[in-house]
Symmetry: C2
Subunit: 340 residues, 2 copies
């Protein structure tokens, strides 16, 4: 082999503030050198929180998670005179934190960014682990970065105005964490409904912290998704494919995706608890089946980022609480899909 | 202060292949899973090297270092079916390695990338250290990343077809390295002309490796430009401002930038060797003065990424071989500029 010289570069720490009121954000960042980025929904619901902060307000929804929005935010930052000492803080759901994280990652080759997730889904999943990005055509998150924020502030009180459908989205990811990593939490969840968490702030705060820690542990062990981090894609392979095709919410789509992944797990590696998973998902208001067009879904799925050569890196369950990465040849996967 | 939890994430190693023929690229990457990115000039000059490789050929020049080109490359990668196992290799000068590094950094949240720099400037500077990016309007590299490639292959034989102006561009950065970090190399350079390095492959290979090591040492110590890495901007603050304004080459612009930075160093911190620097630059065919519009240059310069609040982080010389970061208030800098 040729002579090579190897040099090593470095990463950065991330600070997590659990169960912390939004108002304390000014103790974490310098108000004068910070630009908040949010969307119209969050801005309306929490207007008083934004007083005195430079704020860029985006149009809401996944449809705006595209390059054009990134271009517009960059133009606004240039106009605001944002420089390398400017910090961005994304205040919102996953779309806002994704765009904010991405813009912060590329503006002037990277300026500091923090997140204040305002949806349950963003708190337990989207804001954690540094994945960000935008969609390209039908392909979700086709462009983006893995880059850690400098901090995360979790304020469960922000969830008071959250619509039910958004609670369900969050619980889809929480149930996912239980499936791949935490059988005890699966049992814990079986004892409650969404309403119980809405009524009991400490039960809710504890659940958020538990899920943040699960996701963080997985990501810290495997930041660049060479192994264990792939487990977090449980339910997402099919989920992402049908989410756009049928205008499902993310939680609905991955709920269905998890049920099918559990069924494939039964077929291929003898998983036994599909029925328990289906009933838990239903308990949290999530759908467990969908009459999707298998052929069309398979087409979209082939462009998935989880494709590696001729195999799809599918996430299956060995048992509840133990997900595994399982390479399935595309041809075999097509056959399985056509059975559904 | 609030309770915070701190988690640490990780970086990656980079392999350097010094003085290695391009043909050995196939020992480093899997030809079937690699896409080369180059430009029309390089493709024409080295056509046989690209045989059998999937290649995307860009329009040449800084004018195409913009978001539109990025969009087009991404579309082509999707069409080629590039996935996470695909590796990009940028074969070209700084514009090609910048775009290739940037696209690799954001496509599917980052796929592997390597560089084969084909210009002296790219070999000793642009391809090293993981900085990449695109221009936004008048602002150079306004958007981009700091992300290390997985490897760099240096083949000095590729320089055989390089135009003289490109040799001069490279030597501008080499002289910069000498000014900020290596007084011995400054003396070494005083003994030669470009022609000597063109005629003597081992003299050239040694010079390239010496400069690659200088830049790498600075970057490894300070990947995210909190301190020492800023020194590499010597000559670049004014240089970048006038480069676009007067359609100067990068080497010409920073040569002029270095002369003015040396003069400011004389005024503010008593540097003594401006005259020696001017004559070394001239020895390598580089310009040392320019009748630029100081007011207009100052306007552009205020948007520079090196601005931090009300100060410009200017790079000055304490002595030859020792650059320092010196914050100059914008108001003072404006006065100095208006003297020129």
């Amino acid at each position: 082999m040729m002579k090579k010289n190897r040099f090593r570069f470095s990463g950065k720490p991330v600070d997590y503030y659990f169960n912390t009121p939004f108002a304390r954000l000014s103790e974490i960042v310098d108000k004068a050198k910070t630009v908040l980025i949010t969307d119209e929904h969050v801005f309306k619901a929490h207007q008083r929180l934004f007083k005195g902060w430079d704020t860029i307000v985006l149009k809401p929804g996944e449809a705006f998670k595209v390059q054009r929005t990134v271009d517009e935010v960059i133009d606004q930052l240039i106009t605001l005179g944002a420089d390398r000492l400017t910090q961005l803080v994304g205040v919102g759901g996953g779309v806002v934190t994704d765009i904010t994280g991405y813009v912060a990652g590329i503006y002037m080759r990277g300026i500091p960014v923090g997140f204040v997730p305002t949806s349950l889904l963003a708190m337990v999943d989207a804001s954690i682990g540094g994945k960000n990005g935008i969609d390209v055509g039908l392909y979700k998150n086709m462009v983006g970065l893995i880059r850690q924020p400098s901090f995360l502030l979790f304020d469960p009180a922000l969830l008071k105005t959250l619509p039910l459908a958004e609670w369900q989205n969050g619980f889809a990811e929480i149930i996912k964490h239980a499936c791949i990593k935490d059988a005890a939490m699966f049992k814990h969840l079986q004892q409650y409904k969404i309403r119980d968490f809405q009524k009991d702030p400490s039960l809710l705060a504890a659940l958020i912290e538990r899920n943040v820690r699960i996701k963080t542990r997985v990501v810290v062990q495997d930041e660049f998704e060479q192994g264990d981090r792939k487990l977090l894609n449980f339910g997402h392979t099919l989920g992402h494919a049908i989410e756009n095709m049928y205008a499902l919410s993310h939680g609905q789509a991955i709920s269905i995706g998890m049920v099918y992944a559990a069924k494939i797990s039964e077929q291929i590696i003898g998983y036994k608890d599909s029925a328990k998973l289906e009933s838990l998902l239903q308990q949290y208001g999530l759908p467990t089946s969908w009459a999707f067009d298998a052929r069309a879904a398979f087409q979209v799925l082939q462009k998935d980022k989880k494709k590696a050569g001729k195999n799809m890196q599918y996430i299956l369950l060995e048992k509840t609480g133990k997900g595994i990465v399982y390479p399935i040849p595309l041809a075999q996967l097509e056959t399985i899909f056509n059975q559904f």
